[in-house]
């Protein structure tokens, strides 16, 4: 919901600037993968705070439960067993969900005015009452996050607890985490926090430890500390250098003004043509065989 304490920075399918007099600090959630124990307390807290409950599924022999994000599960723990060449087995656990991109592909793709907003603190939020159910956000997202509800055909995803953040609380997942693996604060503070942790990990032998804040989408407001930042794909397919897909960029970028211009130019062409040359009329109807005075074609 559009809350008075959160200003809107960007609004889907809107060409005029939103209210921007006030400036708010950029927030971020930092997920320290190296401290996550995979307990899923964050998943539970998310469903509890947001009054959601995924359907009870089936055990398919892995810890992932539910297996994927859905309209009720806005965050899921993903468990990956990885054996890097010459290394030992690694059990990599990642809390998946919306990354709250600074340049959100979902918002770029959305055709419904106000269905997707980005608050000035960086949170990207879906306003389902404006959603038309087209699923363009699914195509726009570089992280495969939005899910369309089978019940109402509206799109859902993590809100970064915008309702809680708006009143000065941290997101529910942050509050629930028993190991302090999930942190929340200003983006600046979280980057600082991450730098300290990365240095620590590097000292402990994780030479490639690093912060995941992909610049291809302008940076994200959900960041990871990864012990193996050189191979994010190992964390259940976290994309190495995510960007808005070229096809989406073309479709929702240059094609829009170019398309409008072509429509305008065609109309202008017809306008000029009509005034310059006029209509094709038949001058000597009588020559054509004597059917005088016929309407239209005459």
């Amino acid at each position: 919901m559009a809350l008075q304490s959160l200003d809107i920075e960007r609004r889907s399918a809107t060409t005029t600037p939103p209210p921007g007099a006030r400036e708010q600090p950029q927030v971020a959630k930092l997920l320290d993968v190296s401290r996550c124990i995979g307990c899923k307390a964050c998943q539970v807290a998310c469903q509890e705070w947001n009054d959601l409950r995924s359907e009870v599924g089936h055990n398919v022999g892995v810890l992932d439960n539910p297996l994927d994000l859905d309209e009720h599960s806005w965050t899921v723990m993903r468990f990956a067993e990885v054996e890097p060449e010459g290394g030992n087995l690694e059990w990599l656990i990642r809390k998946d969900g919306c990354m709250h991109c600074a340049d959100p592909g979902c918002l770029k793709a959305c055709p419904a005015p106000g269905a997707i907003v980005q608050y000035s603190n960086g949170i990207v939020d879906f306003h389902q009452e404006h959603c038309i159910g087209c699923g363009y956000c699914v195509a726009g997202c570089p992280f495969d996050v939005p899910r369309i509800s089978k019940k109402d055909n509206k799109a859902y995803k993590c809100t970064l607890c915008s309702d809680r953040v708006a009143v000065g609380l941290e997101p529910a997942c942050v509050k629930s985490c028993p190991t302090g693996s999930i942190m929340f604060g200003t983006k600046e503070d979280m980057i600082h926090q991450a730098e300290g942790r990365v240095a620590e990990l590097q000292q402990r032998g994780f030479a490639n430890a690093g912060l995941y804040d992909p610049q291809g989408v302008g940076g994200t407001h959900v960041m990871y500390v990864l012990p193996h930042a050189d191979r994010p794909e190992d964390y259940s397919g976290l994309p190495k250098d995510p960007t808005i897909a070229a096809s989406v960029g073309a479709w929702k970028g240059p094609m829009k003004p170019v398309g409008l211009a072509l429509l305008g130019l065609t109309a202008l062409g017809a306008f000029v043509h009509y005034l310059k040359y006029g209509r094709k009329e038949i001058e000597h109807e009588a020559d054509a065989g004597g059917e005088r005075g016929q309407r239209g074609g005459a």
């Binding site: 060409t15 404006h130 094709k280 065989g289 074609g297 005459a298």
Partner: protein
């Protein structure tokens, strides 16, 4: 008067035309925010999203049936190349300088084939975008490519239909031909002389 279109052909044409207008309105609404208000013609954004693909199937079927009736008349042949060379004269209403043509001029023929091609692309790509029924069956990469192709071919279609509509106004008597099914002898002789000869020989 000479018969040019049967009632069946006219029904198919106007069914295609009306569905096209509804599709263009809702499609442009999804294409650019400045045209989102057009979605109101179909009852708002969500209704436009629901109805657009169904209307699209109706347009495709109507156009396909029409194409099955007309395609033979639209094969490029005879004087067509020479006529296209004189397109500047045709545009400037100096038709007497262009070679005589039959039932359709090469401009109309090219329009026919490009419309057919863009409708096929629209149908195929549209299925990949159709929620909630078919989109979940396709990968996100396919849906992205489908969305781009859908928008591109729709733009081609809309521009060409605009030219088609203007031409029917430009060549006086053409709109009446599609409404009443009949054209005057003068119209036929002036714009489609070789067809006029065939039609009056019988």
């Amino acid at each position: 008067m000479i018969d040019r279109y049967t009632s069946g052909e006219r029904i198919l044409h106007w069914l295609t035309a009306i569905t096209f207008l509804l599709l263009a309105a809702s499609g442009l609404a999804f294409f650019h925010p400045s045209m989102f208000w057009l979605a109101n013609l179909l009852g708002g954004g969500t209704w436009a999203r629901i109805l657009h693909p169904f209307i699209g199937v109706v347009m495709f079927v109507a156009f396909l049936l029409m194409a099955l009736k007309f395609w033979r008349h639209n094969v490029l042949s005879g004087n067509d190349r020479a006529w296209l060379g004189k397109i500047g004269d045709v545009i400037a209403n100096r038709d007497d300088r262009a070679p005589p043509i039959g039932r359709y001029n090469p401009g109309q023929k090219i329009l026919f084939w490009v419309l057919l091609a863009s409708m096929i692309v629209l149908l195929v790509s549209g299925i990949a975008l159709w929620r909630p029924y078919f989109a979940p069956l396709f990968s996100i990469g396919t849906i992205r490519f489908g969305a781009l192709m859908h928008a591109l071919s729709a733009l081609v279609l809309i521009l060409l239909v605009f030219v088609h509509i203007y031409s029917s106004f430009w060549v006086k008597g053409s709109t009446d031909a599609m409404l009443s099914g009949k054209v005057s002898r003068g119209w036929a002789k002036a714009h489609h002389p070789k067809w006029y000869e065939e039609a009056t020989r019988k």
